[in-house]
Symmetry: C2
Subunit: 885 residues, 2 copies
């Protein structure tokens, strides 16, 4: 005989926590608590195997199921001392679904099952509260009719409204026992009217109706769609939990509450919770009555008067506290517990690991290690790496009011308030005067960098999560909301228009880079504090992880910040960012506007010393560590003069006329610059540019090596390679020059030449390309752009539509698309290492700071990830978790 039903309660159970597949999550958990001899209302679980058998056998149950259910009901009756359907002392039960994982779309709960026209009277008598009894009854009729019988909810709401109107009553609480009695009757009649047969009075019919409904809901459309989207097999099935009801609203010796074994907000090791005397679970959350404090100390800290549970029900409270200890010790984690006190008897209805803020998660995890409750490895797995952002950036005070204007993309975390300013120069000026500034642009460009540095936050109406604004802001640790498309920014008028409102220049706005909200006025923020717990956890992470973590940085500020956050080198230094300083851009412009090599070389001659100085500074900060320098990558036209003054300046330096310059600027225009004359294509067309950069890098490395006695290992990276031949040509150019400079210097210097794998073709041809490369670095931003055919600057137009329609689970520029882009990464790694075993391989796209992408990199054998400085701790922790999993 198959065992289809597992009993629990009364200090023991036939199941346990490990039997989730058979009993579902809820059932296994109730069994576990029973085994811990906690006061769990007795009940039983019908296994998931019944669900499977049901569907395998033409929607019929195993023949011996009814008998097993009936036997389990008898056990509950015996334990509780009440009888199902009894006229004097009726047993009431709840019926709930419970799959292996929580699953929206399925039938959830029927409470108070077992009530009928007769048992309701017994309940009234036993509780001494007729109003309670009939309110419970009408609730049961409504709930059962809705979820089991399919009579729509609103029909009952209508009846209730009509009744209240007829009786001149506004609130449900004003209704008396007689009202509920009348409504119970009306509800039953409505159900009969809808179905053509009466509401079931037979409690066993009620029970089997509810069981049928749970199993039936496994195959309804919504549940099936959910399972398909989340890859949950239909064969898993759901369990059904039947449990005796307990009531916290039977009088003043009753209560109900929720509690955390530690403070979920701060992580402090002190009980935290709320309770209400003579109330139902719903009342605590519904906000009709104000819940009271659980402990005396928290009541006192809040300056409240109404006694805490510790004071009003000391014995039950002590019993509850011992449950807290037992559960936390057993589950070895902070618990979120629901309880009910029925006539001084404590019942535990649920326990689960409690949700917590990032600071709390950190504190709890580290303290539990100190207290020998969990291991360091477990502690590492307990903290969500993504949530570390909260620790590193200011956040909005959750108590403060928000006047939300619109929502953009949460492009760089943190919150900031400041004056609206529309250009970088003004941002810098006002910031020097001590003003807080939010730089607002349609989209930023490299020329705005000084303004972005000066601003305390950046807001754009265009661009996705990896637009220029987003990438640079994350690098600098500035909050940023990008792609807020509803904003209409009128630079000339100095106004932002949004949803019919106008924000003028210098008005204050607040942005929340954590959720993308843009608010009018100032909203209070909370400053982050990085304590010893943080460093301790990071230290454990470093001991565990196999992936190295580098940073994407080119400014001394970013590089220093990243070293402080634990970066083990630079994985991407974008040399073009060094070209935008006022004293350099003129020479850069001279270079690109020149029509011949001589003109370009003259300009490059002037750029060489400044670029070399940049590298000396960067290499000095990073001494002892590897630094990957990417040669010039963006389309030249990004450096074009914009204003007429710019043109005049360039014309003067070059000694040419304006007509020539304008024509040249027109020539350099590209329709799709992302797919244009950029990356190594520039190195092929204008080798003199890469020569200058190679010289600057190698000379700087030699200089630092001489001065400090400790060198970096420059890794020279050629961008946008698509064929072996490109890298072959450029590698020769770089190495010939580098060898020459090194030989003449008489100093020993190691360096490497490698490439970014950022085009689908490069990934496919990795076996060939590896012949010419000392290392690979996956540029997953560009690889995502080309694999999907989506420009990150333009994706904001339809990204929302795509997320809404469930086409993307996540913005592919934020979390690596493991199916598509990921397959190319895997192909690239395999083919690259087949040609050159042990080839050093990293990733330097924005995905390097995304936890699930970091895990992907770990699984696929990459050597390192590189991410913006403020994401370095996230990557360190994510890498540790990946190693542990």
């Amino acid at each position: 005989m198959n065992k289809w039903v597992y009993n629990f309660g009364d200090g023991s159970a036939e199941g346990e926590a490990s039997m989730k597949n058979l009993l579902g999550g809820k059932g296994a958990n109730l069994a576990e608590m029973s085994n811990l001899e906690l006061p769990v209302p007795p009940g039983f679980t019908i296994t998931t195997e019944v669900c499977t058998a049901f569907y395998d056998n033409n929607n019929t149950y195993p023949s011996d199921l009814a008998q097993q259910v009936s036997a389990s009901i008898s056990i509950i009756e015996k334990t509780v001392g009440a009888k199902f359907g009894d006229e004097e002392n009726p047993l009431l039960v709840s019926v709930r679904s419970g799959a292996r994982v929580s699953m929206p779309g399925m039938m959830d709960t029927v409470l108070n099952l077992g009530l009928n026209d007769i048992t309701v009277k017994a309940l009234a008598k036993k509780s001494g509260d007729e109003r309670f009894a009939y309110d419970s009854y009408r609730r049961f009729i409504q709930m059962y009719s809705d979820v089991v019988l399919g009579v729509e909810h609103y029909l009952f709401e209508e009846l209730l409204e009509i009744h209240k109107e007829e009786n001149g009553v506004v609130l449900d609480t004003e209704l008396e026992a007689e009202d509920w009695k009348a409504l119970s009757k009306a509800f039953k009649e409505k159900t009969e009217e809808e179905l053509g047969h009466p509401f079931p009075q037979d409690v066993n019919e009620q029970l089997w109706g509810a069981i049928d409904a749970v199993f039936g809901s496994w195959m309804i459309e919504r549940a099936m769609v959910y399972r398909r989207l989340h890859n949950i097999p239909h064969t898993w099935g759901t369990a059904v939990n039947v449990q005796s009801m307990v009531f916290g609203n039977m009088g003043d010796d009753c209560a109900t509450g929720v509690a955390f074994t530690r403070d979920p907000s701060t992580g402090e090791n002190a009980y935290y919770g709320e309770y209400l005397i003579n109330a139902q679970g719903e009342d605590v959350v519904a906000g009709i009555r104000t819940p009271q404090y659980l402990t005396k100390s928290s009541r006192e800290a809040a300056g409240a008067n109404i006694p805490s549970m510790e004071e009003s029900m000391p014995e039950v409270y002590n019993e509850l506290a011992s449950v807290f200890q037992k559960l936390e010790a057993h589950y070895r984690d902070m618990q979120d517990i629901e309880f009910t006190v029925q006539q001084r008897k404590l019942w535990i209805l649920q326990t689960r690991s409690g949700k917590r803020t990032a600071p709390a998660a950190l504190k709890i995890a580290v303290e539990m290690v100190h207290d020998n409750i969990i291991t360091k490895e477990e502690a590492l797995l307990r903290v969500d790496p993504g949530a570390l952002d909260q620790l590193l950036h200011p956040t909005l005070d959750p108590e403060a009011n928000r006047d939300v204007l619109t929502k953009g993309l949460p492009a760089s975390p943190g919150a900031a308030s400041g004056m609206v300013v529309f250009n970088a120069d003004e941002a810098e000026e006002l910031s020097k005067d001590g003003k807080s500034v939010i730089l607002v642009r349609i989209e930023t460009s490299p020329e705005d960098i000084h303004g972005m540095h000066a601003a305390c936050g950046i807001l754009t109406s265009r661009g996705g999560m990896t637009s220029h604004a987003a990438v640079v802001a994350r690098g600098m640790g500035r909050p940023c909301v990008s792609g807020a498309g509803a904003l209409y920014i009128d630079m000339s008028q100095g106004t932002i228009t949004v949803a019919g409102r106008t924000i003028n220049k210098h008005e204050i706005v607040t942005i929340d880079g954590g959720n993308g909200e843009v608010m009018s006025g100032e909203v209070a923020t909370i400053k982050p504090e990085l304590g010893g717990h943080f460093n301790e956890l990071m230290g454990w992470a470093d001991n565990v992880r196999l992936l190295n973590v580098r940073t994407n940085a080119e400014t001394p500020l970013d590089a220093s910040a990243a070293r402080e956050f634990g970066a083990e080198g630079i994985g991407l230094s974008r040399t073009e960012h060094m070209f935008f300083d006022a004293d350099r851009i003129i020479n850069v412009r001279q270079m690109i506007m020149s029509e011949d090599e001589t003109g370009r070389r003259a300009a490059l001659e002037k750029l060489l010393p400044v670029q070399r100085e940049d590298f000396i500074e960067l290499f000095t900060i990073m001494k002892g560590l590897p630094v990957t320098v990417r040669l010039l990558d963006p389309p030249l036209h990004e450096f074009l003069p914009h204003t007429d003054e710019d043109f005049v300046d360039v014309a003067k330096v070059m000694n040419v006329d304006m007509a020539f310059l304008k024509r040249r600027a027109e020539e350099l225009h590209e329709f799709n610059p992302m797919l244009g004359h950029r990356g190594c294509r520039l190195g092929i067309s204008y080798p003199e540019i890469y020569e200058m950069q190679t010289r600057a890098i190698i000379e700087a490395a030699l200089e630092v090596s001489k001065t400090l006695g400790e060198a970096v290992v420059p890794e020279i990276m050629v961008p946008l390679v698509g064929t072996r031949k490109e890298l072959e040509i450029l590698r020769k150019l770089i190495c010939d020059l580098a060898e020459d400079i090194i030989e003449k210097s008489g100093i020993k210097l190691d360096y490497m030449v490698g490439t970014m794998i950022e085009l689908p073709r490069a990934a496919l041809q990795a076996g060939e390309i590896a012949n010419e490369a000392d290392f690979f670095s996956f540029g997953t931003n560009d690889l995502t752009q080309t694999t999907y055919g989506i420009s990150r600057d333009d994706s904001a137009y339809f990204l929302n539509d795509y997320l809404k329609a469930d086409i993307y689970d996540q913005d592919p520029f934020v979390s690596l698309d493991q199916d598509g882009v990921g397959e190319l990464v895997i192909i690239g790694v395999e083919r690259g290492r087949k040609t050159k075993p042990g080839l050093k391989i990293g990733i330097c796209g924005e995905h390097g700071g995304d936890p699930s992408s970091v895990e992907f990199c770990h699984i696929n054998g990459l050597d390192y990830v590189s991410c913006s400085p403020y994401r370095v701790p996230i990557a360190r922790l994510a890498a540790a978790q990946a190693a542990l999993r």
Copy 2:
């Protein structure tokens, strides 16, 4: 004992044509001709195995080689009746390399080997021409010193120049025997000065020096690079051919010439060639003397007086004619033959298949089938499909002078002359007045289409081989040169500036779309004629090929042309091209400028009837055949108003103010439109657009079915899909609507819904996507763009640099990149058919008309290719060849 040496000549040979691997191409061919008992100067071939053995054994020869060579020399001596190194009657030989395939970079030829201070005198005596003998000697010294001994060529040229100057002589022909004698001496001395030892007088030393040099040149840098680039294994090795010299310049009973067995220009079945009395082979090609006609009829046709060979040397000519017959019959192809007559004795030096024009290739192939010389299958393989372009388009008269201004990309074949016009409207007007017009634009856009139709040629300064201009021009059969970057087009001035010259509006230019040349003034063109031969060959092709050939067309004109060219359906109909007519664009603009669905629907309502009419017309033309219609694909901003008048018009229709319109236009701007809000992303964001198009397609198909009783099978194609979910959503939208319309009509109609595979992710996810698709069509233009990360509109900037540096063998937008893009196609086919065996798969990029890409499609099991109308015959022939190979 290994056989290292194979003799030939004197009516027999030890080798034959099939032994190319052992004897190299040249050696095998000389053997074959000897076996045919043709008069080949006797000689021998040292096999490629000697080369391999040489390198395998530390650069030493097999021990028995010397003896075998010496024996073969004796055989030549016996045959020729002269002795190697003999003081009276010396044998002279040539030494040549000869690998399996012709290979630049290797040592080529040493002539007159065997001459020294003594034998030169014998040669003078024997020939009776001392000048000839010493000229030959100094040539030998120079050639041998250069290629065998490594003394640089220019050193001898210098001596010659000095000698001429000192003797007041300008031309070589003015030099006498004594001069050459003196120079021979000086040359020898120079060689000795350079090398430190005298020029070898021992003929055997000379011979082995030359043999060493041939084998040595197999491993020089240039040859190795060439082999790497062409995937030729180093182990193949080269052979060495040693052959007795014959002289056509020993007197008036000597001659030399080249001949074709049929006219290589027209294909006419008549001997064709040139000869010179008392001359060397070089003289015929060098142009110092004017060669004479071979046959009497050709001399007469040209109105020339100097006797033809047929007249001046009738016996030798008859002998030659019989050689022609023998060789053509033997090789079963038109032959290109080199011959020399030495003292009335005919010698055949070389035969090979003759190069020919496309008309000649066609005529020869078809006539040879008629004459039972070759099979139809062989005929199909004899015609280069790419060359058919010459048959379909006018070409420039090769005799005409060309004043070439610059060179762009050969974007659409054919040649045309006309007035320079800078805008489409003017092009249309002038064309109505009967003027020939070349439309000159920086780049064309869909709005220029009427002007492109009106023009007889299109010239742009931007854009690659698959830019808008190129694609549309090929579709229309208009010649086009694109991406002529050296042109500076000043629209406002109405001028083109190029290389310091200015071309004004309405001046005449000529473009050659076959080679990309842009010329000043009018250049005469030759009109094509498509005769019976063409149709006959195409018919044979259709019987053989397995691939279907469809066309890319949307206008009735293109569709009709394509059907005439044999298209078996439409593989790509770009619906957006239908949106640009003056009476429609206003409604399209209204649609995209609307901010909400209501506004868009109002505009779509007006577009529905016109779009339906388009389809009715198209389906009527294509009745009985499948028609693939691609739903709206380009980024909406392509349809934006340009001029202020445009804006005013739209504002009027929409009843909105200009500020709104300008703002909206700004909002729609994209940084990288190719990667922007386009393709199925439009269908997801604005389902009403795809609904309108689906309705237009289905209603049109029903209408045609009703009227003609014969329907098309519309294949509705969703562009730019990257995930299964996109197609799932849109397929449902299309099918729900289509079913509804069909059901209401009461008529039966088959239709399909499929997708373009044009993103790397789509190819990788083809297994998933196939679940939702009735067919796949590879959009290899876009797939190339994203796989390489190159926009076809911007590639012109660096494409030349890339082709020059051998990074690309061919523009990847012209011929499918089989390594990278091709791998994605293969992956897409495999995964798609794994999910859905028998899934219908085609290709509709521009590659569909490229022969090697067509072959790739055949090999990888595609069902059809689709190309522009004028490429349909090319694809038909290429498909037949692929099937035959």
